[in-house]
């Protein structure tokens, strides 16, 4: 389980790591005051997270690589998942 927070339009941490070939779950807590949409076209997820809430998204097992995710409502909020 990878835990992230969104605050001041930043992911914390902005880079997370997970092993290859295993299902991955992200938990994202939105500490900001406005809604965020956790999204990644590479990870095939999109989920609205209202302010003050957290959300869990599940990602299928991945090949090694560097995967970008972002807040679709505020594109400057960017993060990466590294699969070694």
């Amino acid at each position: 389980m990878l835990s992230l927070t969104i605050k001041d339009h930043q992911f914390e941490p902005a880079e997370v790591h997970a092993p290859p070939g295993k299902p991955i779950a992200f938990t994202i807590k939105n500490l900001g005051t406005i809604a965020a949409e956790f999204e990644s076209s590479e990870l095939h997820v999109e989920k609205v997270i209202p302010p003050g809430r957290d959300a869990t998204v599940h990602v299928r097992p991945l090949e090694p690589g560097r995967y970008n995710f972002f807040d679709d409502f505020h594109r400057q909020t960017q993060g990466y998942l590294i699969v070694p």
Binding site: A35, P50, T56, V57
Partner: protein, 275 residues
């Protein structure tokens, strides 16, 4: 201004493609303007409701409320689209041949119109709720919304509506005798794409994990996040890295609709007057 323009355009564009197709499919049916407009208005109201209750919705079903809600309304849209095609397979020919005057045909045509109006509602609701959440967020952050946001949103809306209009105008240039086959195919692909999208939500919620391996990767050719990718995603369900389950459900939806259309189609009855 630019973020508002982009987000509003993207969502209106996606809903607009579907509205444009529905307008073309129903061209010639009396009262369709009211039905489609009703569908859009209901969708906008629904989008506001979904946005207001987004917090509560996301906490339902162990945090999977959003995914289940999306999967359910998409599933419902698939049923409506499939039903419309089956209905058209049965009545389309008589509708095209003798309809405009025949009150009965128009009255029963309304049922199919209602189904498509619901599809419009669902499309607008899904895309619209994101717009509402985003704009609300911007407005809240900037203390009441800025002029830039309003202008950006308005331009996005107009550009998106233009896509809807172009889709419609493009489709109605197709000669009437082909139009039925073209729109039936479009509707079936739309339904299959929505069914595959519903699966993606269930996979994200970890409800479906069977056959979740990626079947192919065409992201080097066309990313499904790009504008063309999004258009094709909405129209035919294009996904650059689909899971096996998505492909299976996509194909199954097409097959089921095709089989039902065949089963329920009126036999090509010999008509004395055509002899």
């Amino acid at each position: 201004m630019l973020p508002a323009l982009l987000i509003v355009f993207r969502e209106v564009f996606e809903a607009g493609l579907i509205v444009g197709i529905v307008m073309a499919v129903t061209s010639g049916v009396a009262g369709r303007g009211r039905w489609v407009a009703g569908g859009v208005i209901a969708g906008v109201l629904g989008a506001c409701l979904v946005a207001v209750f987004a917090g509560g919705l996301s906490q339902l079903f162990g945090g999977n409320g959003q995914e289940l809600f999306n999967a359910c309304i998409l599933g419902f849209a698939v049923l409506m689209l499939g039903w419309h095609n089956v209905w058209m397979a049965r009545h389309g020919r008589e509708l095209a041949a003798e309809m405009r005057a025949a009150g009965e045909a128009v009255a029963s045509g309304r049922k199919s119109l209602a189904a498509l109006a619901l599809v419009v509602t669902i499309a607008v609701l899904r895309e619209g709720s994101e717009v509402v959440l985003f704009l609300y967020g911007v407005a809240a952050a900037e203390g009441g919304g800025s002029v830039g946001m309003v202008i950006g949103g308005a331009i996005g809306l107009v550009l998106g509506a233009l896509v809807c209009l172009l889709t419609y105008l493009g489709l109605i240039t197709i000669p009437t005798r082909y139009l039925f086959n073209v729109t039936s195919t479009l509707i079936a692909l739309l339904a299959a794409g929505m069914a595959a999208q519903a699966i993606a939500f269930l996979e994200q919620a970890d409800i479906f994990t069977a056959f979740d391996q990626t079947v192919w990767d065409t992201s080097w050719l066309l990313r499904d996040g790009s504008l063309l990718g999004r258009a094709l995603h909405t129209l035919v369900g294009y996904v650059d890295q689909p899971t096996a389950m998505q492909v299976i459900v996509y194909a199954a939806t097409l097959v089921v609709i095709a089989v039902l259309m065949k089963l329920f189609a009126l036999p090509q009855q010999p008509r004395p007057q055509t002899a």
